[in-house]
């Protein structure tokens, strides 16, 4: 009975499209999980015995050390910037997010180029002072080296989320603690860290997911992890089934992290929207303290952005004439093309699901929203395995059709750009979704309802009212997704059509072929575009509350 009342509300195009998108996202993931339990793989026994323990050990070490160090750096900087005034603080506030503009694989080969035998440090020491150093102190291509890079270039996830929390939510608690006579360190360790637990957990789980997603850095540094092992079994041993089993194992680790995050975060979400947001009033630091704070922020900023950036610019000038060619222009076009199409599709899909979820506050729509966000947690290599399996299957079903329309019955879909872009959509849909959902939240339901009372149906209302009102969120969702696709490496490496290169794949190839300098032009374009986006977002975010 209830069903008949509810049904008309669901019977529109938004529900059908949402259903389709959810299926598209679930299919590759479910394929992987199913195959884990059913298919037999020739090398799986061998992998389990000889490779898996190593992978687990490396992955755990990377996660634990990167996690702990990111928390230390991220929260301390967040606290410093929220609670104190010191020289150039306004600049550091957003500049400390900039390390995110440099993807870890680019940071990795840049640092290697700085530190190795022919790098700027060693040559200066040799030529100026005649000092020959022991190479082992300058070898960054190790597991600790990878931790160093991951930490420096991923800590901003912890920094931004914690800072947002501290700036808006902590004023009364912190001020009370100060009034009760606690000194700065006590306030930090006994008040700030415990109350920001939710924010820290949220930030650090993003860091860990990025570590698991990474392929470029660990491959370059020679630290075997799941991503490299998936590549290795799939393309090196030609054993897709084992690659699927590795992927499934990695997925279980991801689910573990997500569950742990839920548990640790506790019942409260880290950004509860309290009606009255009172900003924390910063204390002005003087003298030595002010310069200590400045130096700390400056060192992290230099290591995480300035130094690698200057080095890349330097190499770019060295190699510009050689690299800037029509061929390079086509790389650039490719990159911009896939990023544009991918981001546009992400925005469209995200809008469909967000609007559906908003219209029906039901279990169905909530699950749809959950699934949408799922992709962002799944490492690129896993999505790549899943989506190729699905596409190859579809191609095989379509062989008859290809034959019938007079094409060669070969793999059509699974070698096309279409597959790569679908993979981007699955992996980054969450980014567009979050942006658009928060836009809808801000606007509320009243205008939509007013429009429907004036005789417009859901779709007309969307185009005439909703879309106009959330325009800002649509644009920011698009830009964020665009940047992520531009930086993306593992998915692109695996799924790109033959001979199709993007800035990121080319940069990685140059670096892997020991042509670090040649990789700089492609890298610097990625870094600059991402950096500009970060700058714009910081400006927008800072202005918004007023």
């Amino acid at each position: 009975m209830k069903l008949f009342r509810k049904l008309p509300g669901y019977a529109n195009i938004w529900s059908w499209l949402s259903l389709m998108i959810v299926v598209l996202i679930l299919m590759p993931n479910i394929t992987i999980l199913l195959n884990f339990f059913t298919e037999k793989a020739e090398n799986w026994g061998h992998i389990q015995e000889f490779i898996l323990p190593d992978l687990l050990k490396n992955t755990s070490l990377l996660m634990v050390f990167t996690g702990v160090l990111s928390i230390l750096i991220g929260t301390s900087l967040a606290w410093l910037v929220s609670a104190y005034d010191f020289p150039m603080k306004r600049f550091f506030k957003w500049a400390l997010i900039l390390p995110l503009a440099i993807p870890p694989y680019i940071a990795g080969y840049t640092y290697n180029g700085i530190l190795n035998y022919t790098g700027v440090i060693q040559t200066t020491l040799r030529n100026q002072w005649g000092i020959e150093v022991d190479q082992k102190y300058f070898d960054i291509l190790t597991l600790p080296g990878a931790v160093f890079i991951f930490t420096l270039f991923l800590f901003p996830y912890v920094y931004t989320i914690t800072r947002a929390f501290l700036a808006n939510q902590s004023a009364s608690i912190v001020e009370n603690a100060r009034l009760l006579g606690r000194n700065a360190w006590e306030v930090y360790f006994r008040i700030v860290l415990p109350i920001s637990r939710g924010a820290i957990v949220g930030g650090v789980s993003l860091v860990l997911l990025e570590v698991l997603n990474d392929y470029g850095l660990v491959q370059y540094f020679g630290v075997p992890t799941f991503s490299t092992a998936i590549f290795q079994t799939w393309f090196g041993m030609n054993d897709l089934t084992s690659a699927i089993k590795l992927s499934a194992t990695l997925m279980f680790i991801v689910f573990g992290i997500l569950i742990l995050e839920k548990v640790l975060r506790g019942r409260k979400k880290y950004s509860y929207a309290s009606a009255k947001v009172r900003p924390l009033t910063p204390v002005r630091l003087k003298g030595v303290k002010a310069w200590t704070a400045f130096s700390y922020a400056f060192v992290i900023f230099s290591l995480g952005f300035l130094i690698p950036f200057i080095q890349l610019v330097d190499w770019m000038f060295l190699t510009f004439d050689k690299i800037a060619s029509p061929e390079f222009t086509s790389l650039l076009t490719n990159s911009l093309l896939v990023s544009f199409v991918g981001a546009a599709m992400i925005v469209v899909f995200a809008v469909i699901i967000a609007n559906f979820a908003r219209m029906h506050q039901s279990i169905v729509s909530k699950s749809a929203a959950r699934v949408t966000i799922l992709g962002y947690s799944i490492p690129g290599a896993v999505i790549a395995v899943g989506i190729s399996t699905v596409f190859i299957q579809i191609d095989q079903w379509l062989f008859g059709f290809y034959d019938w329309v007079g094409m060669d019955p070969t793999l059509v879909l699974s070698t096309s750009l279409f597959m790569l872009i679908s993979a981007y959509v699955i992996r980054f849909l969450a980014i567009g979704y979050n942006s658009i959902e928060s836009g809808f939240d801000k606007v509320g339901h009243q205008f939509t309802e007013a429009s429907r009372m004036l005789g417009m149906n859901v779709t007309q209302t969307f185009f005439k009212v909703d879309a106009r009102m959330i325009r800002g969120s649509l644009i920011s969702g698009f830009i964020l997704a665009f940047i992520e696709i531009l930086k993306e490496l593992p998915l692109t490496l695996i799924l790109r059509p033959f001979n199709f290169d993007t800035l990121s794949t080319k940069a990685f190839q140059y670096a892997s072929d020991e042509q670090i300098h040649e990789a700089s032009l492609a890298s610097i374009i990625i870094v600059i575009i991402s950096g500009i986006a970060i700058y714009i977002f910081h400006q927008v975010l800072e202005k918004e509350p007023n």
Partner: protein, 237 residues
């Protein structure tokens, strides 16, 4: 009976108890009915159920002889031909006054649209404001535009949710009688919700009191007491 609501029950997804419990109400054509009740008694919810923005779990609603909600059918809000003035007006901020009013005029020709906009603006005495944006209007002016927008498509039923809640006291008294005149001029059946007795007395032909999701009827205004009655909910005809 122009509007019939029978045994209506409704519960919000996240609450345990029914917000609306066996609500019954009938309204004659052309009548102005006021629903009076404390905050949280379910007044807004009744209006949302009437216009189809929420789906009841049980009960029947018919408007003008046509069933819009029962066990087998549900007419979508945009198909019900109901006009609504929202508590916070919900004027589209990206459209001018004229565009806001035109919004609901589907199937009108260009000229007819323009003419209708002028008519309703005239009705609410806001002729000179058609080019303004909502944020360039005062609270009282916004309210009149919201009313004009709701009336423009000639709905068969007009719902008003606390139309005065955003106005200061002086303005409220002034607009009260004006509102009654405008509605009476159009002859439209109206239901309006308020928690202010004076509003009800000034505008309504008939007052319904709501408590805990059910209705109590008072046929004449002078019998309103300061206390709510203790009887069971009853069916009103």
């Amino acid at each position: 009976m122009y509007i019939q609501i029978k045994d209506l029950c409704f519960r919000y997804g996240n609450s345990k108890m029914n917000t609306i419990r066996n609500f019954n109400l009938s309204v004659n054509q052309g009548q102005i009915v006021s629903i009076l009740g404390e905050s949280g008694s379910g007044k807004s919810t009744i209006l949302r159920l009437l216009c189809g923005l929420e789906t009841p779990s049980q009960g029947v609603i018919s408007i003008g002889g046509k069933t819009v909600t029962d066990d087998r059918s549900f007419v979508l809000p945009e198909k019900r031909g109901i006009g609504m003035v929202f508590q916070d007006y919900a004027l589209f901020p990206h459209m001018t006054v004229a565009e806001n009013i035109q919004f609901g005029l589907k199937g009108f020709g260009r000229k007819a649209k323009k003419q209708r906009v002028e008519e309703v603006l005239d009705l609410v005495n806001m002729k000179d404001f058609s080019k303004r944006y909502p944020h360039e209007l005062s609270g009282g002016q916004q309210q009149r535009i919201a009313l004009a927008r709701a009336l423009a498509p000639k709905p068969s039923l007009l719902l008003l949710d606390e139309p005065f809640s955003n106005l200061d006291a002086d303005l409220q008294i002034k607009i009260r009688s004006e509102l009654r005149d405008i509605i009476k001029k159009t002859g439209i059946t109206s239901i309006f919700v308020t928690h202010d007795r004076e509003d009800s007395k000034a505008i309504a032909d008939r007052i319904i009191t709501m408590r805990d999701g059910s209705a109590y009827d008072w046929d004449s205004i002078c019998t309103i007491k300061s206390e709510f009655p203790e009887e069971q909910p009853m069916t009103i005809s």
